[in-house]
């Protein structure tokens, strides 16, 4: 993939495995993608595709044992995060790279007022007095649209959408360069989701933050991302600019995903689902891991692992159909 010095984040050949009693879970396999400052990438895939493990890998939050980064590098701002000590990493987390989680109820501390939880991050990473940190917390609440009077309220006094706003305030309090949002709106109703996405879009543009948006919803990708990486069985099977990917999808899995979604603007009789099931990460199929579900599979698909092949400017596909010597 492109070696670009302007990239804020460059992930190369990342593999994360979990070694458990029953065997090895290959959660992330030879994963590659990169991100420029201010850019948003959508990491799209179904349950078990390895999206969240990738995010936790970037944050060095993989529990070890049983988890282990077995290969690859994560270059952030010129440093390989995998080579940092825990103390160095702690300085990165929350100030340089921060994360918004899916469930806004369990990611907040139930026994502290929300204001204090935002101030805590600021106190940890910046040389400020408690009063200054609290003041910053109140500014953040204002930014995410929570009234000042509610600063001393506890998480349970807020609705799901408001709690996610608090999560966003915590994540952005130290003005990170990279924000990882792990399904931030999945637990919310659509009208509330629209509010939260609008807010994230605005704040991201204001601070030129890069973002990794983890989602299973291609609609959200269309709304908020600049580029897309489609994940299947722990690796990126297709990546491109948002427009290129939506107008010109190549990988059979990507095409299958698009065909599976009921479209509110079209009137289709029958959906065209992808046959079969997600593979077991303890026992991934040989060769291309999608081949048992693929309508275009050829005999060599079960033997050869496809490489990233450029099919268009910045559009890479991992499929033998597009490799040289293929069809």
């Amino acid at each position: 993939m492109s070696k670009n010095n302007e990239n804020l984040l460059n992930i190369e050949n990342l593999s994360i495995h979990f070694f458990i009693e029953e065997g090895t879970v290959a959660a992330v396999n030879d994963l590659n993608f990169s991100l420029k400052p201010g850019e948003t990438i959508g990491l799209v895939g179904e349950t078990g595709a390895g999206k969240t493990t990738t995010a936790l890998g970037i944050m060095s939050l993989i529990q070890s044992p049983p988890g282990l980064v077995v290969d690859g590098s994560i270059i952030y701002d010129g440093r390989n995060l995998l080579e940092l000590s825990e103390a160095e990493m702690r300085a990165v987390r929350g100030s340089q790279i921060s994360m918004i989680f899916q469930d806004p109820m369990t990611s907040l501390n139930p026994v502290f007022p929300i204001r204090d939880q935002i101030a805590e991050v600021v106190m940890l990473h910046e040389k400020v007095t408690a009063a200054q940190a609290i003041q910053r917390a109140e500014e953040m609440l204002d930014k995410v649209g929570i009234r000042k009077e509610r600063a001393k309220d506890f998480p349970h006094q807020f609705s799901g959408g408001m709690r996610q706003r608090v999560g966003i305030a915590i994540a952005l309090a130290c003005n990170p360069k990279l924000l990882i949002a792990d399904e931030p709106t999945t637990a919310l109703d659509v009208t509330i989701q629209a509010q939260v996405l609008e807010l994230m879009k605005g704040l991201k543009e204001e601070n030129n933050t890069s973002m990794i948006m983890i989602t299973h919803d291609l609609g959200i990708v269309a709304e908020i991302c600049d580029k897309v990486a489609i994940m299947y069985a722990g690796s990126v099977v297709e990546t491109a600019d948002k427009k290129e990917l939506f107008n010109n999808p190549k990988h059979p899995y990507t095409i299958g995903l698009f065909n599976s979604i009921p479209d509110i603007e079209k009137d289709e009789e029958k959906l065209k689902p992808i046959k079969g099931l997600m593979p077991d990460p303890m026992n991934l199929p040989s060769g291309c891991s999608f081949h048992p579900r693929c309508d275009h599979a050829k005999p060599e698909c079960s033997q050869k692992v496809p490489k990233h092949t450029q099919v268009n400017d910045g559009h890479y596909v991992r499929c033998l159909l597009f490799e040289e010597g293929g069809e």
């Binding site: 919803d217 609609g219 939506f246 698009f258 959906l271 992808i274 099931l277």
Partner: protein, 319 residues
């Protein structure tokens, strides 16, 4: 086609320490035989309660549920047993709704045994095998337990169990919400085939407008216990009238990138509490078209054009 189910002035209030919670508040709809009514709305709007009250899994506070011409809310125990054979429900969480200590074939056989629908083990075995075949479960899965299966297959078990007694009417309560999109599409196609083959009537509950549009003949949009708009599936999307429906439609992220910008309506605030709701339109506090009349008078569900019902003071009848 004749009407199979008609709901009249149906109400369900729950007692709470802070006053009655109006979960379902005076709703009316009809479903014709062989058709699907999609019930859509956000969390807490009363859609699941509606599904349960219609089947008398919880008792209504008031109103009528007329099934095949009879009000089932008046039914005594014996008549209810008959009705239960005829009407079934598929739940959202296919794991929580299956007994973890029963194998696939035992789960599917249970309704047949309870209702004495099979004579002898051989006939029972054959019926179970047929049902598994109908929903696309391989016969080798007969003796496995739910925890060994993925969500899509578990939901197929739930569907096979429901079909065992040959019902006429099925309530689907978010049957695909817990599934990944590629699996969701498989299940939606299955439900569609079953409906066509067996002439089933569905009440399909979902928060996902894409899914609702795909499965429904008619759609009812609920907000805080009320139906705010109801029409055939095309008009709701092509010509939404109620401000809430408009906002809901505009809030869905559409997986398409074209340069045409869709009009975006972002609603203020959250859904208010359904406990002791104030008089007037339930949507008043979040509405971008509100006027004074909306605050005090509750709008009725009016037919503004043929087959298109809207409960809004701002939506006059077509001349």
């Amino acid at each position: 086609m004749s009407v199979l189910l008609e709901v009249k002035n149906l109400k369900k209030y729950f007692k709470t320490p802070r006053g009655p919670l109006h979960a379902v508040d005076d709703i009316n709809f009809k479903i014709k035989k062989g058709e699907t009514l999609g019930l859509v709305g956000e969390s807490g709007c009363g859609k699941s309660t509606t599904g349960r009250v219609v089947l008398r899994l919880i008792e209504a506070t008031g109103g009528q549920v007329i099934f095949n011409g009879e009000n089932i809310l008046d039914y005594k125990k014996k008549q209810m047993a008959k009705f239960r054979e005829n009407s079934q429900i598929v739940f959202q969480d296919p794991f929580a709704s299956l007994n973890p200590r029963m194998s696939v074939s035992e789960i599917i056989a249970e309704p047949l045994i309870i209702n004495k629908k099979a004579k002898g083990a051989a006939e029972l075995g054959k019926k179970v095998a047929d049902l598994m075949d109908t929903v696309g479960l391989a016969s080798r899965l007969e003796n496995v337990y739910p925890h060994e299966l993925d969500g899509g297959r578990r939901q197929r078990i739930g569907i096979a169990r429901v079909l065992a007694l040959n019902p006429e009417f099925i309530v689907h309560d978010e049957p695909v919400s817990a599934l990944d999109v590629s699996i969701q599409a498989q299940i939606l196609n299955l439900l569609d085939e079953l409906q066509r083959d067996k002439g089933l009537t569905y009440l399909f509950i979902s928060h996902d407008l894409g899914v609702i549009k795909h499965v429904s003949n008619h759609i009812a949009v609920m907000y805080l216990g009320k139906i705010v708009e109801m029409s055939d599936y095309k008009s709701i999307f092509a010509n939404p009238k109620h401000p809430y429906t408009k906002a809901l439609l505009s809030a869905i992220p559409v997986p398409r990138v074209d340069d045409v910008k869709r009009e975006r309506i972002i609603l203020e605030g959250d859904v208010p509490s359904p406990i002791n709701p104030p008089p007037g339109c339930r949507f008043y506090g979040r509405c971008f078209q509100r006027q004074d009349a909306c605050k005090n008078t509750d709008p009725l569900l009016n037919e503004i054009s043929s087959g298109h019902f809207v409960a809004c003071h701002r939506c006059p009848r077509d001349e």
